[in-house]
């Protein structure tokens, strides 16, 4: 272990190299900027404006970080920032599996 005194070489206060959403590669800096530009105050708006949380994992890991950033930027407690609405599927699932509902497999046929 060694001590390193190079904090001056890391001007990352705004999070320009700190990725929040790894699926869509959105940084904390980009999220903060769009919150300020468009006066965003919900997770859903941040998604639409930056694509953060729109990737394969659908915000499973980054939603909490987005909430934290929103709470810092809008100076509200994190409990006041509501989660994005949930739509199916809640996990990635093959198109064929969703189609199976109407294909009559597994006793799923409709009248």
């Amino acid at each position: 272990m060694e001590s390193v005194k190079d904090s001056s070489s890391e001007p990352d206060e705004e999070g320009s190299e700190k990725i929040v959403c790894r699926c869509e590669e959105v940084t904390e800096g980009e999220i903060r900027e769009s919150i300020r530009t468009y006066k965003l105050d919900t997770v859903a708006e941040v998604k639409r404006a930056t694509r953060a949380g729109m990737g394969l994992c659908q915000g499973r890991s980054c939603e909490i970080s987005i909430k934290r950033i929103l709470s810092e930027e809008t100076r509200r407690d994190i409990s006041e920032i509501s989660a994005d609405s949930v739509r199916p599927p809640t996990i990635p699932v093959e198109t064929g599996v969703i189609a199976d509902v109407i294909r009559g497999g597994g006793g799923n046929e409709e009248d």
Partner: protein, 375 residues
């Protein structure tokens, strides 16, 4: 479409005990779990549990899972394994992915025991290979008996962080640091003591990760001291060589399915995030939909075991499989045990938080009259 009496979602400790209590009382119950085998997080736990006999004191976690699965089988619980629920349609129809097909299940009552998922913290480099959750490390080490690296830095000194540290040492790995942002170690004394005593792990309290470094994967991590406002103190950076940065920074309830079902939630920092509102019998704001275990607030496995039982008894009673007076007695016994579990210095906060959630429930949720006329 399969019509079922009760579906229990999630085969961890809460889901297993809920299913057992239901099946014991003659209810036809299907336990759905996405994995090859039920047991949930218990399967990863190689340490012995403590507490009382009802909570399997002295038994290792994976053996508790074995016992519960055995009992569920004895009671003829219907297991639907490798079944992933990907949607809840019309508030009640479970869409289960099974292989390449969908099985629709329409139960009269549902108990969600979906557990928790790990939180992550973001720092530059956290997306590098080598940064992983404590759950993943436990899966490697305890289930598959493979070390995912040689040198480990653990972020977070709660129960999970310190237990993982101890397990890593047992597996022959080097733990180069435990990094904790708070001023004190967060875990139960027993775990902290084990981890600190048996190895020689440097613990950095009031520190956080500033950056993970490495070209293709992590080779070192830079940590920094934080002040009482959680702000980094310039000039206090330290670099630590490490292959794996293990994040043990907390869990949050897995609420996607309950939210899709329409259950109202409240935010609870004590319980890890959004929690579905529930009453004393574990029923949510939606009639006939129950929760148990970590999804109802992240606590201990032993609490999940009891909450599962409570939900199971409640559902059996609501379907008139047992009389309401018998149910009241049985529920009271379970609540007493829950009271004891939450009695310790660490549990008290949980008891208070449950009370708070119940009072919000009572404020916001008015039950429809038809509640127990179902059968």
């Amino acid at each position: 479409m399969l019509n079922k009496e009760v579906a229990v979602v999630g085969g961890g400790p809460a889901g297993l005990t809920a299913s057992i209590e239901l099946a014991k009382r003659g209810v036809n119950v299907t336990l759905i779990d996405e994995n090859l085998q039920a047991g949930g997080q218990l399967l990863k736990q190689t340490h012995k549990f403590f507490g009382s006999e009802e909570h399997y004191a002295g038994v290792r976690g994976f053996n508790i899972a074995k016992k519960l699965i055995q009992e569920a089988n004895n009671q003829s619980v219907d297991f639907l394994l490798e079944g992933s629920i990907y949607s809840v349609y019309e508030g009640k129809i479970l869409a289960v992915k099974k292989g390449k097909s969908t099985q629709l299940i329409s139960p009269e009552k549902v108990i969600y025991a979906t557990g928790a998922s790990e939180k992550v913290i973001n720092f530059p480099g956290w997306t590098l290979p080598g940064v992983m959750g404590a759950g993943a490390v436990q899966t490697f080490v305890n289930q598959h008996k493979v070390l995912p690296g040689r040198k480990f830095t653990i972020v977070g000194s709660g129960n999970v962080g310190t237990i993982v540290a101890y397990q890593l040492l047992q597996a022959g790995a080097e733990v180069t640091a435990i990094v904790e942002a708070a001023q004190e170690v967060g875990s139960y004394y027993v775990h902290a003591n084990k981890a600190i005593r048996s190895g020689d792990i440097p613990i950095f309290t009031s520190h956080t990760v500033k950056k993970a470094m490495g070209n293709e994967s992590v080779d070192s991590v830079k940590i920094v001291e934080v002040n009482e406002n959680w702000q980094p103190v310039p000039g206090t950076e330290k670099r630590i060589e490490t292959d794996v940065v293990c994040l043990a920074v907390g869990l949050r309830p897995r609420t996607k399915l309950t939210s899709l079902t329409g259950c109202q939630t409240t935010y609870s920092s004590t319980f890890g995030g959004e929690v579905p509102l529930h009453d004393k019998s574990m029923e949510t704001s939606i009639n006939g939909v129950y929760v148990a275990g970590d999804v109802a607030g992240v606590e201990e496995a032993s609490i999940a075991i009891e909450e599962g039982r409570l939900a199971g008894v409640s559902v059996a009673s609501s379907m008139n499989y047992i009389s309401s007076s018998t149910a009241a007695d049985q529920k009271q016994e379970i609540r007493n045990r829950l009271g004891l579990l939450r009695g310790g210095p660490y549990g008290e906060e949980g008891a208070k938080e449950k009370e708070r959630i119940r009072s919000i429930f009572n404020e916001r949720v008015t039950r429809r009259e038809s509640r127990s006329v179902k059968r």
